[in-house]
Symmetry: C7
């Protein structure tokens, strides 16, 4: 089973960040929300503009991306957790 | 009787998910809303853009789709329950 | 007297649904709002787009339609009750 | 003195509806708001679209129209009460 | 000193309405807000549309206009009180 | 050091108004907000429209302008206080 | 590791302002929010307009900029703190 996002949506697999120090102490989240990291698993075909042309996404499969911690909708595909969000929710690409 | 959705709307038949374990124990919904699954039964002709051209839908009859649990309006056509929603409410296509 | 809707509006005559069982028991409305059914009696000429062209309606006189239970404004024309609403309030056409 | 509405506005003279029965009993308004009736006295030249062209109104002087009971702004011109509203506030034309 | 309004703004001098009867009794404002009257003293060059062209105003210096009682911002130019508002705040021109 | 505003923003230096009478009595602000006066120190290159063309500003360096008392963001450049605001916040030019 | 902002976003490194006097006294923030200063570290490729063309940013790497104190989202790249924000959040360029 594969999930193909519609229009300007992308499918992202969250990359779990290490929230423990090497000595095993849990680091509490600071008050300020930090963005989360993920890998783009699939991208939509892009939105159709007012002139009828489809605007392709800037992101492509495999991109490592940063996004707001609470962005997107959780989806489970074949037992794996993913996030579906709009490209506009992505803050940047990690090269 | 058939129901033809207008413009960028689609008619979706919900695919009931198994909410019981094999042993028969009911699995409670988690706090986080999970998307629902359905099959596209009919699609509209698409919206008319500002330039007067109709923008056809990306979805077609038969597509299996994911959508937000509370998306759409319930309709009963010849005793069967369907949902009418806009294409934009669809998160992705399951291949 | 006739009523001609303006722009993207339509005039709809509600089709009363049978809310009693054959045995005469009144069926209470469920919590979830169900759409109502009607017949299109008149349609407007369509809205004028940004390029100055009128976008004709997809609906035409005689269409049987579904719409949200609380959509539109009630109008009385020669003693008959109608609803005026925008085409966008129509969920679908019943063929 | 004459009042010329600007852009997509129209000047409407309300047609008072008979709110008494023939026997003189006052009929109370029902809970549901009914639209009011009026006659178009003057129309604006239309709004200027994004392409710089003026979009003429669909209504013309003399049209009998229906509008939401609370639409428009009251104006008094030479002792007579009128309403100024946008064409979009008009629900339909009575032929 | 002169004040030139920017874009789609106009400079209006309020025409005080007689709020006393001939016999000198003050007429209280009714609950319903009535529009105020003024004279256009200066007009802007118009807004620039999406296509880069300036859309000239429909109003011109000297027009007598009606506007909502609380429209605009008060300005004092050489001891005289004026109002600066957008053309869209003007309801109509008094001929 | 110089500050160059971006897009449709302008840099304005407030002209302090005399808030004392000649006899030295402080005049309290009236309830109604009066606009403030300033001089345009720098202007941006203008916004880019939907067609990709930059729309130049109507204002230029040196213009004396009126703006809403609470418009803009305060900036300190080399010890001097300025305001950065959008051209649309300017009510008019004083000639 | 490098972070490439998407579309009309930029990556900014905050320039800490001296908040002590030479004698070491801490200067409290005034009630009025002052903008913060930063250096542009990376810029996106620009947004795609309605006509399908990408609108390049006005800012470029290396620009010293002013922005609202609470603008942007904090990101940590290789131990360094950055801010990701939209170009529109930038008030001006310091030359």
């Amino acid at each position: 089973m594969k999930l193909r996002p519609l229009q300007d949506r992308i499918l992202v697999q969250r990359v779990e960040e290490e929230s423990k120090t090497k000595g095993g102490i849990i680091i509490p989240d600071t008050a300020k929300e930090k963005p989360a990291e993920g890998r783009v698993v699939a991208v939509g075909n892009g939105k159709v503009g007012d002139d009828g042309n489809r605007i392709p996404l800037e992101l492509k499969e495999g991109d490592r991306v940063l996004f707001g911690k609470y962005s997107g909708t959780e989806v489970k595909v074949e037992g794996e957790e993913y996030l579906i969000m709009r490209e506009d929710d992505i803050l940047g690409i990690i090269d």
